[in-house]
Amino acid sequence: MTENLAPATVLQKTDDVLMTESEGVTVLMSMTTGNFIELNGSGAAIWEAIDGSQNQAAIIEHLQRTYQIGADQCAADVTEFSAQLLAEGLVQEAASA
């Protein structure tokens, strides 16, 4: 079960993440856990959007507009995948300004 992230949560990539392209897919590795994650189309878009400044609500709105997908579906995809990235130690909550 994944914990829902609040819309105001801002995530940033950690220093412990490595990224590569392998046979046309993007693969992330956490140096802390040694776990690997393969990014599909939406996963890659969410990963790209996590930049340490946009909060979850802004990312959902941006992806919804860019890819013309339903608001509920987009919100579910973003929060679920972001929570997975957080659990794997690939992203962390950004410190408040």
């Binding site: 490595l18 392998s22 590795m29 690997f36 393969e38």
Partner: protein, 297 residues
């Protein structure tokens, strides 16, 4: 890898000229008790980017430095020969990491000018599988570790002309039973010389097969993406020595290998006699990999 050593290394040939570039030295000395500000600190080892200190209880301490030197001291209750498996195992693994090379826990079979690596954790059956594949037609670059070049074609360096077999495997291969004088590993396996089937020259990598123990699942799968990279990481020899900087370099190496050569996985259930099934899968995988290479030429 060329080695000069002040301990006799049994079947490993020594290099007469120790000043030759790239030569590794094994020397008795006084390794430190610990490293200053290590990046990794565990009870049995600590590591920084260019040095690793390994402590083996009842054997000794090993200080591996700059990809070229291992300074060791043997505990009072041990003999210098007790240090040899660790010099040629863990220490060599650390040296290869320091040289920014790729080293897998793998045995190998050479067919038609390509080498196919068989990876597996202890007990997965890589040595037994490889010995049967070599017997069926082929040669080998070694039984336990494989050092892979970083550029395509990825040449694999010859390791050592020995293999470690259980008594059961020796029976299955129709080989003579060991005598009391034959060396025995800590896992109770017998170290046998592979002289006649050993290739002492680098050979381009044709592909990699990983044997994974499972509970019930049995299949042969072509790996790609994250699964391929994860498999290469899992079977990287002494990966626990990789500091953050070394892990970044290794990750780049795994990515390159996964792009350049095919990887297969054989799922092998625990508690069943599956040797023949694994051999059939391995032969099929090698055939597929050879076909892929022919199609790419």
């Amino acid at each position: 890898m060329d080695i000069t050593s002040d301990i006799r290394l049994n079947s490993v040939p020594e290099v007469p000229d120790s000043s030759k570039a790239g030569t590794v030295g094994f020397r008795a000395g006084k390794p430190p008790q610990t490293l200053t500000e290590p990046d990794i600190h565990c009870p049995r080892f600590c590591a920084r980017d260019d040095e690793v200190l390994v402590r083996i209880p009842q054997v000794g301490r090993f200080h591996i430095r700059s990809g070229s030197l291992v300074e060791y001291c043997v505990d009072d209750e041990a003999s210098p020969q007790d240090a040899v498996p660790f010099l040629l195992g863990s220490c060599l693994g650390a040296l290869i990491h320091q040289r920014e090379g790729l080293i897998l826990h793998a045995s190998s079979v050479v067919r038609d000018g390509k080498v196919f690596l068989i990876c597996g954790r202890s007990g997965a059956g890589k040595s037994t599988t490889t010995a049967h594949l070599v017997n069926a037609g082929g040669s080998t670059l070694g039984d336990d570790i494989a050092v892979i070049g970083k550029e395509d074609p990825h040449f694999v360096q010859p390791a050592f002309p020995t293999a470690n077999f259980s008594r059961e495997t020796l029976n299955g291969l129709g080989l003579a039973q060991p005598t009391q004088n034959d060396p025995v590993t800590r896992q109770g396996k017998f170290t046998i010389e592979t002289g006649h089937s050993f290739e002492n020259r680098p050979i381009p990598l044709g592909g990699i097969i990983a044997i994974e123990r499972t509970y019930g699942k049995r299949e042969l799968t072509r790996l790609s993406g994250a699964k391929a990279l994860q498999t290469l990481r899992r079977h990287t020899y002494r990966k626990s020595y990789l500091t953050k900087k070394r892990a970044q370099l290794a990750f780049a190496g795994w990515s390159k290998i996964a792009q350049d050569v095919p990887l297969y996985e054989i799922m092998r259930p625990h508690g069943e006699d599956t040797l023949q099934e694994v051999l059939n899968h391995a032969e099929q995988a090698i055939k597929n990999m050879m076909n892929e290479h022919r199609e790419n030429v």
